[in-house]
Symmetry: C2
């Protein structure tokens, strides 16, 4: 059988036209490539090169061989990429969520159950979640609705409540609760990837300006430094206690400020995640 390096040398020669150029491209001395061509010819038992005294070029058989070399080498590269990706996918749990809070809450638990795995997560829209779960882009998703498909296992996960987060000097600081309508039209600083919360905010406060920050830490920083109101939830208050310094959290009383989240996986993965899912049921 023909060794791969011979195909590489052949392809380089085909691409660059001379043995010297091919050798340079391959980071080899010219004689190596010359010998490789000879070896290839001898193994095939077919002349591939037209040798003038001072010049070599591929004959028709050589060109055919080069075509094959190209295809085979591409196939090998595809093999390497695919296997590495497959392996990576096998050591990675991809989690998709429609909101950051439930994800942050899940993260420490999932890492403790799957300590050797890489956990990778995304905040995306509901449709992407479902498609992704179906196509194995995600192994776990956190959805805003219960999934009814036979293909998936789905259970109630948690309920998140939205709060207004303001400093002590804000007019609303003393309120026991507040409504979206009361805050509409004001400027807010908020985390960029809040998933469905953004939809809710934009619907309930159509005149509010939302200054989105890609960096989660920056949200707290900027909120503290400015007097801009921001948002928190029962979950972020628990997981990011640093952000509540000098700030008060006033619950929104609107119904839309309370969201239920569901966690789901493929039926075929239910066993694998059962310990984790049971723990979440209790909490």
């Amino acid at each position: 059988m023909i060794e791969t390096y011979l195909l590489e040398h052949l392809l380089a020669f085909h691409k660059f036209g001379t043995l010297s150029a091919a050798a340079e491209q391959l980071h080899l001395a010219q004689p190596s490539v010359s010998r490789s061509m000879q070896k290839l010819e001898s193994e095939l038992g077919v002349t591939l090169l037209i040798r003038s005294k001072n010049r070599v070029e591929l004959n028709e058989s050589g060109k055919l061989a080069a075509e094959y070399a190209k295809r085979i080498l591409e196939k090998e590269e595809e093999m390497i990429r695919h296997i590495r990706a497959f392996d990576r996918a096998n050591r990675t749990i991809m989690v998709g969520s429609c909101a950051p809070g439930p994800l942050m809450f899940l993260f420490p638990k999932i890492t403790s159950f799957f300590s050797e795995m890489t956990i990778s997560s995304d905040i995306v829209e509901e449709e992407v979640l479902l498609q992704g779960l179906k196509r194995d882009d995600y192994q776990l998703i956190i959805a805003p609705k219960h999934l009814e498909s036979e293909e998936f296992y789905c259970q109630k996960y948690l309920r998140e409540h939205l709060y207004l987060s303001v400093n002590n000097f804000h007019p609303a600081a003393t309120y026991k609760s507040i409504t979206f309508a009361e805050m509409d039209g004001q400027n807010f600083i908020m985390y960029a990837k809040v998933g469905i919360w953004e939809d809710i905010l934009r619907e309930k406060m159509p005149h509010a300006k939302l200054y989105k920050q890609a960096d989660l830490d920056a949200v707290g920083e900027i909120a503290s430094a400015s007097d801009l109101p921001s948002f928190s939830t029962n979950i972020t208050q628990q997981l990011l206690p640093s952000r509540v310094m000098n700030r008060v959290n006033i619950p929104f009383s609107d119904e839309e400020a309370h969201a239920d989240f569901y966690i789901a996986c493929k039926q075929s993965d239910k066993k694998r995640f059962s310990a984790l899912l049971n723990l979440l049921k209790q909490a």
Copy 2:
């Protein structure tokens, strides 16, 4: 890049289940295959094997890799086969003919013009000739009709005349000429591959028995040893003089006993064969 021998070792392991069996199949010692698997894993950076103390098997990544190995190795084998066939085709002139006489006449001329090429020939039906010329199965064909297609170049080649060949004691031995009708119903010994002549004989002498001999030399031998009549032509008389010993050749007077043959090649090959074709025009 991954060398071919690693893929071969992987595939053998996949096929035979154990490293020892794979090694035996590959005519190698077990440690070689063991090392190859390790090397493969290290080059891919991916674990491919589940190692128990006394047992190894492919994991999912390994199975995927084995699939790729199979496909790549098949591709390489296809490459080898295809290139060798292509090369062979390039050093071979395939000649198709509808009759053996014109072919025998052509053979010495074509070999002298293309001394370095292998000449390969076939006696087949007219439709096969045309298809074969079109599909490059044949580079030259000898046809019973002039080809009118734009795709081909065609010229008159020669005229062949059929003779009855009998020993001196045969009743017809003294005839100046004879007809098919007069000989119908008798038994003949003849060469198996006479192309269109067989069609003609069967049509004109529907009651004759034709004992076909695959070996050309055997026809003469058997004809001499027996008293069976056989056939000859102006061409075979010229090229196979040994066969006319103790035999007389009586021309058939029927019109169908005289056949015109045409030689043709692809227009794209006309230049290549021009010297040969010109020589044939003169003869």
